[in-house]
Symmetry: C2
Subunit: 443 residues, 2 copies
Amino acid sequence: MGLSSIKKTVLKKIKPSIKEEERELKVAEEIITKLKNTLPKNYKVRLTGSVAKGTFLKNSADLDIFILVPTSVRKDKLFGIVENAAKKAFPKNKSEVKYAEHPYVRLEGFGRRVDLVPAYEITYIEERASAVDRSVLHTGYINGQIKEREKDEVRLLKQFLKMHDLYGAEIKVQGFSGYLCELLILEYGTFFNLLKDAEKWKFPFSIDLEKYYNSEEDVLKRFETKNITVVDPVDKNRDVSSIVSDEVLYRFMVVARSFLKKPSKKFFERRRFDSRKTKAYLKRHANLFSFSFNHPSIVDDILWGQLRKLGKRIVKYLSDLDFTILDYYLHSDGGKITILIESLERELPEKIPILGPKVSDGRNIELFKKAHKSAVLYLNKGRIVAIENRKKTTFENSVKEFFKKERNLPSYLSRNLRKGKLDKKIKKDVLEGYFFWRKVFRE
Amino acid sequence: MGLSSIKKTVLKKIKPSIKEEERELKVAEEIITKLKNTLPKNYKVRLTGSVAKGTFLKNSADLDIFILVPTSVRKDKLFGIVENAAKKAFPKNKSEVKYAEHPYVRLEGFGRRVDLVPAYEITYIEERASAVDRSVLHTGYINGQIKEREKDEVRLLKQFLKMHDLYGAEIKVQGFSGYLCELLILEYGTFFNLLKDAEKWKFPFSIDLEKYYNSEEDVLKRFETKNITVVDPVDKNRDVSSIVSDEVLYRFMVVARSFLKKPSKKFFERRRFDSRKTKAYLKRHANLFSFSFNHPSIVDDILWGQLRKLGKRIVKYLSDLDFTILDYYLHSDGGKITILIESLERELPEKIPILGPKVSDGRNIELFKKAHKSAVLYLNKGRIVAIENRKKTTFENSVKEFFKKERNLPSYLSRNLRKGKLDKKIKKDVLEGYFFWRKVFRE
């Protein structure tokens, strides 16, 4: 299938109809009008996000409505203003408090996500008092720059990323935000051009649409990021890609290459899970271990921030014990959190050689001998070596020990972690998620 | 026990009585006289070695008798001259041909080793035509330099080294030669001073008794040896310690430190083998494997040269397969040769991760994927990783494979090696040798 027909077929599925787009804008308009009526005249209400920019995907329109107050209003009053407006304008709709950098209101009862976010009205980024203030400027920038045909390219990119779990700036994903997708298309013109470049990205590299900096070197000096920097066109001190994890970047490059090698509409669909293939994979794999504990009641961003820390800590702990950790995977189903770890070894040798000082270093030789009193000592290439008994030899016991005794576990997880257990059987959805993540080279 | 009483006690055991010394010299004198009578008048006969220098140990006097011919005699005539002289002078004694740099005669029937070695008569080292020509000059040098009390120090050193398998320049030992012992005592004055210095030897370092070189730096530049250089006082281009292996040096330093920490006459006796302790050791040890094959009929120096190569090769082979080799030991009882190998692992994990190129390196990613078609591939820190099945997982099979299939085995050993077998039980003398060698830090 040729590239343009793939594009056509995919867009047919993911691009909202004109009718759908009009409907979304109409709903937004109605909400905005009602809110305006309850708010002082000098307060503005603005639609932002992908609906405002015309880059949303079919059936996934979310309304981000910003209530812009004058900068003279005190910051601690913002949320109350929005909450009151919501109650007055929509007395029958339930609402929920949500937290980003500051609290905002999620309105229920519209058949779609509707967020009411308080912000200051600013024209220049220098006036901003909080991160959300930028959003309105983002919408303005994109609407001023993007061509109609580029909106389709943004949609293709978003769908492509979504189907590979690479889309979304939440900490759980650490992927590409919608705004980043738009900027990338502005930079590369088309989805295809972006992929062609991405497959051979050499890090670190940067994108600076507004040419705020004289050279790439200057950008990298300013941001000191390891891999990619995308300078925000409305705020030259911000890197739009800072949330994107290395892992997500690498996976994007790999999937880009697979697509370019053999373009197919399959890349825009969720890969189906083949349980027979998975079983075969599993058989050929090293040792998989699954540990579960109860979900603490905290918001997703905090949870996933802590889970990522936990993942890194457990891998370091096991690696320090000499286990070869091939990969690990974090999963939450809302009730249970599961850590899946793949290790080369199920068991380590009972003995461990510990390299000591050189034979000429008498003082340290004596200290080493004292420290390894019961060990077998011998010489190897001019250094003393102690053969000690390894304290932990099985993988399972080592992980159990980690959960029981490790200090400084992420604070919100530690209590539940202590009661964590080794799963006798790996849950199907965990395994699916793991293999989805793992099979990146087998498109 | 104080140092001087240790010295006294030990010397009592190892120093030949005046009577023994006189007897040795008398035997030598008789042999020399008989040889002289059968040789042309302008040929000289000289006693060299430790008897000539008065540094031999009780009950270990060996007679090294050199037959010195004028430099006008052709080199290929030398052996014939000595052989004929031996037959004429001692018609009833059997003799054997031995080989060093060139052949010489070992005379039997004297109750001690008697070697008749042909050499050119030289006064200056520049005239020498073969390595043995130096020996007479060595004897002359030592006799001209050594003080009577220093001879005892040489004896203490020799005995100390012998009891720890560190004495002898043959390739099997790669240890300290008698001449090296004498030079070390000339340098340090006493056995004790030598030990005090040796325990903290920092390599590379050198000894240049005759100050042939301006500085240590010059010596090291000339010889490019890794560890120790002892310039031969009769040949400034020769390093007397070149045969000494690193292993022997390190062990000498360790034993020196043990002695200095707690001086005892035990250091001058063979350490007794405690089979109960050894069993306990064995239990706490990693995996010991013993492989044996038949002794080829070659001389010791060639055999041990090849065995050392074999040892290094097998350790490299196993290490490349990921086994952690703690130590190995080579043993020959004249009939069987045994290689004892201590490995941390008895078995390796079935899977092995193979690190591939970076994700941005498309060409090599494709090559890597082709090379690992059936492997599980995944991403790790921006690089592709293949999980392959390991071909050899058990230690025993790996060694068997080495013996069966390894190319370029040392030539004299290869045929017998191919028929080598894994020993079900480790022979007692092999184990003893191994533990003797291993227990260096547990004096």
